[in-house]
């Protein structure tokens, strides 16, 4: 019986940004998942990644817009009716230390999901070989990176909720000061987006349970991983904004 190494090299499909004179890719062809009505794996992955890239643009614009509002609002004076003078009402919020721990959790989850992405990509690449009844690639240890990412993601969200509770306990509510408004706004908006990532992890898990093909699972996990990395980078940006531009 033949034996193969588990390390396989698959060419990473590039995102097509075809310009004048360059022919777009020809679709069709085979693959381990090209059932009736589906383009091949590389095409699906490239298209899905392009879709994700496009989808992240308005998310980026949303936070660019919030940042713009943050900077503008920070510099605005307000009228004090008692003294009839212009004063600044921006009171910096002391961020809970818990946010640093949450940050560590999120970064670690980002590492885990990257490992999950690579693991399933290798599985998808070997699928045409392992599908052969007379070929074995040997046993390897399957670490449940996706589940671990999910646990860490939920831990992060719980941590953010706890940080909100700590803020409230210190007297900072949504409308207490403009700076606290932005803390709740930015952390809340980020948390909602991260919930989307958690949902995607569930979808990836369901795809696995429903015995979807390795290629389909690989694409779902690949997209979720890139989205998750984006969320981690976005969170670091938000934390820096709240901490250093307050």
């Amino acid at each position: 019986m033949a034996s193969f190494s588990t390390t396989a090299t698959v060419e990473d499909p590039r995102i097509s940004l075809g310009d004048g004179g360059i022919l777009p890719p020809i679709r069709g062809g085979g693959g381990d998942d090209s059932g009736p009505g589906l383009p091949d794996y590389a095409t699906r992955l490239r298209r899905a990644r392009l879709g994700l890239l496009v989808a992240l643009t308005p998310v980026l614009m949303l936070f660019v817009s919030f940042t713009s509002a943050y900077i503008v609002r920070q510099g605005l004076p307000t009228l004090d009716p008692r003294t009839n003078t212009l004063v600044h009402d921006w009171i910096p919020v002391t961020l809970p230390k818990l946010l640093l721990i949450n940050t560590g959790v999120l970064i670690l989850s980002s590492v885990f999901i990257e490992l999950a992405r690579r693991q399933i990509k290798d599985q998808a690449a070997l699928r045409p070989i392992t599908a052969h009844p007379r070929v074995s690639v040997g046993e390897q240890m399957r670490i449940p990176w996706l589940s671990m990412t999910l646990v860490l993601g939920l831990t992060f969200l719980l941590g953010q909720w706890t940080a909100w509770r700590q803020l409230a306990a210190n007297g900072f509510y949504v409308a207490t000061t403009p700076s606290s408004s932005f803390v709740y706004l930015l952390t809340g908006a980020h948390a909602i987006h991260l919930m989307g990532g958690v949902l995607a992890l569930f979808v990836a898990g369901i795809a696995s349970l429903l015995r979807r093909s390795a290629a389909t699972r690989s694409i779902v996990v690949d997209l979720t991983a890139w989205y998750w990395h984006f969320m981690a980078a976005l969170w670091i940006y938000i934390l820096c904004l709240l901490e250093f531009a307050s």
Binding site: S16, L17, G18, D19, G20, G21, I22, L23, P24, P25, I26, R27, G28, S34, P36, G37, L38, P39, R46, R47, L50, G51, V54, A55, T57, P58, V59, L60, M61, L62, V64, S65, F66, S68, A69, V72, R73, L76, P77, T78, L79, P81, D89, V174, A175, P178, S181, L185, A189
Partner: protein, 581 residues
């Protein structure tokens, strides 16, 4: 008959649906979704038009009690203004040209079997429909619909107690727009991915029909603009419901402090207009693309300066993000900032003029076929020029301060953004109706419709320029008792009468549309002898657009009157005719 080359059978992401619900309601087919968008926009335009009719009636007969509605109070008038503008901008001008025709024809024109993400496409429509339902619901809640204008200026829009309609009605208005933004973003995602990744073999970017270029750039504008509007809407909702002060300064209502302080109404204006100005191009760019297409088809000539047209679309899209401040000259901005916005605004006239001259160049010495789509395309050019020419007036801060709050501004933007875009929709309807429904529309009814609309539009909006220059302010519900404006009342009456006639003319369109669906003459596959890929397939197109094939493209989209060719047009999938002539 030419032989079209096809590639190997193209895979399609989903099978042809069976049953009414899967086929016509929760359809994944981009063509059905396009029709759903189109009819949603049709319903919305009827509502929006009805509201404008009520406004026009009230302006000249302010004490008239209308059947069912009774007296129109000043605040009701402002509600009409608000809802007319919002419905028209979002659910008509953004929905029909992009969601309707873009959805239906972009995949076919690039040789794709469907959009890149069909499920997302379906969700995009249903999200938009939900947004429309929420918007209409604002009429029926306590206090009614909001009165803060389609621009939703704070602090009027940012507190619940500023007037009737600013309670739940205003919340619904904001939520509706937020829902619309999400739907539009899902749509834009599909348009961009499909255009970049699903073009047929040989369909290079420089062989794309200008309609596709317009839909593509419009989608990019939406992608960048709707996220900002969404963010502004979230902040507005927080100000209204959570007591924050992003947009509300220290203000009193009826002598009582509101509890807000330190917010900036101008921050709302900046965020809103950063979306709002690109929105103008979101409405007009698809119409420009359709107009370019039709002028070439019916002049039997290649479009004049294809590459220049592409770069002009890109230029307009880019500059569209640089000029939002010209909506805020009245806000007391620094003269230096105003100067920069003014220069940029006038700069956008350059690509606009390139397009206009190229349209005229296309018409020049053409063998023009004055069909109904062509009439509306020429009408579009006329309205675009007439509406555009007043742009440089308003782009100058010193003139804008005089004209901004007068009827001059509604005259300007209705011509260039509103009715010009509507003319694009009409042109596209008459042009693509045979492909969509397999039947021709009545040409005689279409011509009557054109002349009613064309003359009526000018009769309504040209006099508004004079009203504005004479100092008649906009947004006021009743000006008949103002002495210095007495001399202008006859002109206001003329505008209202013209509106009656123009709206009556639209009934011809409605009758023609529905009558032709069932009784129109059977259409051939290519009744206009056009070159783009939608005319190579059956009428109406099959589920996968090309009946199990993928076309291979060899030619540009506007190969008309080609020397040596057996007929006066060469289709995109015909054998190659050599370098573009």
């Amino acid at each position: 008959m030419a032989t079209h080359e096809f590639a190997a059978q193209e895979s399609h992401a989903h099978a042809a649906p069976q049953g009414f619900v899967r086929k016509w309601v929760f359809s994944l087919d981009h063509k059905v979704i396009g029709l759903q968008y189109y009819f949603l926009a049709l319903a919305a335009v009827l509502v929006g038009m009805f509201l404008s009719l009520l406004m026009r009636i009230h302006l000249i007969w302010p004490t008239l009690a209308l059947p069912l509605l009774g007296d129109i109070k000043p605040e009701t008038y402002l509600t009409l203004v608000t809802m007319h503008g919002t419905i028209m901008v979002f659910f008509v001008l953004t929905t029909a040209p992009q969601g309707g025709f873009g959805n239906y024809f972009l995949p076919i024109q690039i040789g794709a079997p469907d959009m890149a993400f069909p499920v997302l496409n379906m969700l995009s429509f249903w999200t938009t429909l939900l947004g429309f339902i929420v918007m209409i619901a604002a009429f029926f809640v306590a206090g009614g619909a909001p009165l803060h204008g389609w621009t939703g200026y704070a602090p009027l829009s940012a507190m619940q107690s500023t007037g009737p309609g600013e309670g739940l009605g205003a919340d619904l208005w904001i939520i509706s727009i937020a829902i619309f933004c999400i739907g539009a973003l899902m749509g834009a995602l599909n348009f961009i991915t499909t255009t970049l990744d699903m073009r047929a073999k040989g369909m290079t970017m420089m062989r794309l029909p200008l309609t596709v270029w317009a839909w593509f750039v419009t989608a990019i504008l939406g992608l960048l603009a709707f996220g900002v509007l969404l963010s502004a809407g979230i902040l507005l909702l927080m100000d209204r419901n959570l007591g924050t002060s992003f947009f509300v300064p220290l203000v009193t209502i009826n002598g009582q402090l509101t509890g807000h302080k330190g917010g900036s109404p101008l921050l709302w204006q900046h965020l809103f207009w950063f979306f709002g100005h690109p929105e103008v191009y979101i409405a007009i760019l698809p119409a420009m693309g359709m107009c370019s297409q039709l002028l070439s088809v019916f002049s039997r000539k290649p479009i004049f300066g294809y590459k220049a047209m592409v770069y002009a679309i890109l230029g307009i899209g880019f500059l569209g993000f640089m000029v939002w401040g010209h909506h805020m000259f009245m806000s007391g901005m620094s003269p230096y900032t105003a100067f920069a916005f003014s220069i940029m605004t006038m700069g956008i006239g350059v690509p606009s003029a390139i397009k206009t001259f190229n349209w005229l160049g296309t018409l020049m010495r053409g063998r023009i076929r004055f069909t109904s789509p062509m009439l509306f395309a020429i009408g579009f050019v006329s309205l675009f020029v007439s509406g555009g020419i007043s742009g440089p007036f308003l782009a100058q801060p010193v003139l804008d301060i005089q004209l901004h709050d007068t009827y001059f501004v509604p005259a300007h933007f209705h011509l260039i953004m509103g009715v010009a875009s509507i003319f694009g929709i009409f042109a596209a309807t008459y042009y693509w109706f045979p492909k969509m429904f397999g039947r021709m529309m009545s040409e005689s009814m279409a011509r009557w419709h054109f002349w009613f609309s064309f003359i009526g539009t000018y009769a309504i909006f040209m006099p508004m320029h004079y009203l504005g220059m004479a100092g008649m302010p906009r947004r006021y519900s009743q000006l008949t008792e103002v002495t210095y404006l007495h001399g202008l009342i006859p002109l206001q009456k003329f505008i209202t009468y013209a509106a009656f006639v123009t709206i009556a003319g639209q009934l011809i369109f409605l009758v023609n549309l529905f009558w032709s669906m069932f009784k129109g003459k059977q259409a051939s596959d290519n009744p206009w002898e056009a070159t783009t890929l939608e005319w190579t397939t059956a009428t109406p197109p099959p589920h996968d657009n090309f009946g199990g094939h993928t076309p291979v493209v060899h030619n540009g989209p506007y190969e008309y009157n080609v020397p040596g060719a057996p007929r006066d047009y060469v289709m995109q999938s015909d054998p190659e005719i050599g370098p573009a002539h």
